[in-house]
């Protein structure tokens, strides 16, 4: 792409238990560039290292080899500057904080003044359409609502990048599709770069501008597939022939990558 990459991964390897005889190569020869404003899904079976790759980008673990830049800095510097927000599979809200105070957390850690925190949190809650639940406590919300609060929290400090590690994985199918639609609407609003980890083909295709297909043992990038379906994508998008065709294409690449890896 013409624009400079906001995330760049060069020859990254990640080996767990590297100094023992139980060494596991989680990531091998990873090269990836992600441009500003892209919605990139990392798609693959469990054990393909997609979550590990995301954690490398977020500086929650470090690569054994290779170079990563995020916003032109090391991941550590990007984390310290709070360049990214992160959403995990579980909402991980703090039980002892109201919904609003949960959303304020990144701003509070960054030392923002109280008024500003409050205003921003309420704005973010409006964005995820939970404005009237600001004073509630997490236990009063459903799983889907809790995850929306987690998204609001991740976005409250205006990060330029959003990392999402299977954020909808714990939800039922109905909620999951509804939140996919919500997520696209939010993304259109805030225009951050999103790196989204999932093992659902249709989820990756519906959401992403690009799907990065990974294969397991060792975790490698098998293909990068542009999804040229126009935004905004809505519920009806899921029933179009173009959507089905893209799902089929991604599935074939995924399966081809799998059978390549299968032991002879």
């Amino acid at each position: 792409m013409g624009e400079p990459a906001i995330i760049s991964v060069r020859d990254v390897h990640k080996v767990f238990n590297g100094h023992t005889d139980r060494a596991v190569t989680a990531l091998q020869d990873i090269n990836l560039d992600i441009g500003p404003g892209e919605f990139v899904s990392l798609l693959g079976p469990s054990g393909c290292g997609k979550s590990t790759l995301l954690r490398v980008l977020a500086d929650l673990t470090s690569p054994s080899q290779g170079e990563v830049t995020v916003n032109g800095k090391t991941p550590r510097a990007a984390r310290a500057d709070r360049d990214y927000g992160m959403v995990f599979q579980q909402a991980g809200l703090f039980d002892w904080r109201s919904v609003q105070r949960n959303v304020e957390l990144p701003l509070q850690v960054a030392g923002a003044p109280k008024d500003q925190r409050r205003a921003k949190a309420l704005e973010m809650l409006e964005l995820v359409r939970l404005g009237e639940f600001a004073k509630h406590f997490p236990w009063q919300l459903s799983g889907g609502m809790q995850q929306r609060v987690a998204i609001a929290r991740a976005l409250s400090a205006d990060p330029s990048i959003l990392f999402m590690d299977e954020p909808l994985g714990a939800l039922d199918e109905m909620n999951r599709e509804r939140l996919q639609g919500e997520l696209l609407r939010i993304w259109t609003d805030v225009r951050t770069t999103v790196v989204f980890v999932t093992h659902s083909i249709s989820e990756a295709v519906f959401l992403s501008s690009r799907v990065v297909v990974m294969s397991a043992r060792p975790g490698r990038i098998a293909a990068s597939i542009d999804v040229d379906l126009p935004y905004p994508r809505v519920a009806e998008t899921r029933t179009t022939p173009e959507f089905f065709a893209k799902v089929k294409e991604v599935r074939q690449v995924l399966h081809a990558a799998e059978s390549e890896q299968a032991p002879a």
């Binding site: 992160m86 703090f94 850690v109 997490p138």
Partner: protein
Amino acid sequence: MSAATAPAPAATGRGARLLALLPARYRKQALPVAVTALLLLGSWQLAVAVFDIPSFVLPTPTTIVTAFFDDVGTIMAAFHVTVTAVLLGLLLGAVAGVAVSLLLSRFASVSAPVLSAAVLLNCAPIVALAPIFNNWFGVTNVMSKAGVAAVMVFFPVLVNTTRGLLQVTPLHLEIMESLAARPRQVAFGVRFPNALPYVFNALKLGSTLAVIGVIVSEYFGGPAQALGVYIASQAALPRFDYAWAGIFVSGALGLLMFGAVTLLERLLMPWHASLHEESD
């Protein structure tokens, strides 16, 4: 008593509001509790009369109540002295327990030796500690009683709080890490609130332990007016009905402390209390 000096309507309003803080199931339990208490006291009264038990063995509830009102000034003054020592001891023990466990969670390497020392301290019997504290602070000094209570409160608070500080959801730590939070922010933003329910469990234990600690140490001498001193001297006279009145007031004190901690828990941790009601 500050409640007695407040205007009556305000006091009842406050009382009603305090009652409303109790979960519905406690309010529903109030009647059975009252009935059970009446039945117990009634059969006690009856048994003493029917079996003609001498009053130095077991006085009737009515003689105990009569003794209480006969000596109410002395008993309530003693109550005041004892309650001061209990509150001070509870506070000291709780603060020390929480402070030490905060340090232990920060410096994990010293936690084993410090916990062993705490176990040792906890094994020391109150009857041994009481004369020592009397010697250190002086018999009439409130610290000699509060100190014993603090030692008894310290251990459960330390053990429970340490557990609460360490048993943090890994995801919460990871979220704080992704936010580049400083260790102090993790300690006060995650570990400490996570430990609060554990702290309150320990304080409930500690609130009754503190009462026992203070009253037992008062047996080894104390200010002229103190519940433990009162019970010991009345029993020696012997005026057992007065001693029993003192014992009942001590029991009521334990109950009161427990209730106060429970109330404080509900006020300070609304999220946690609501969880309880939800699980009904």
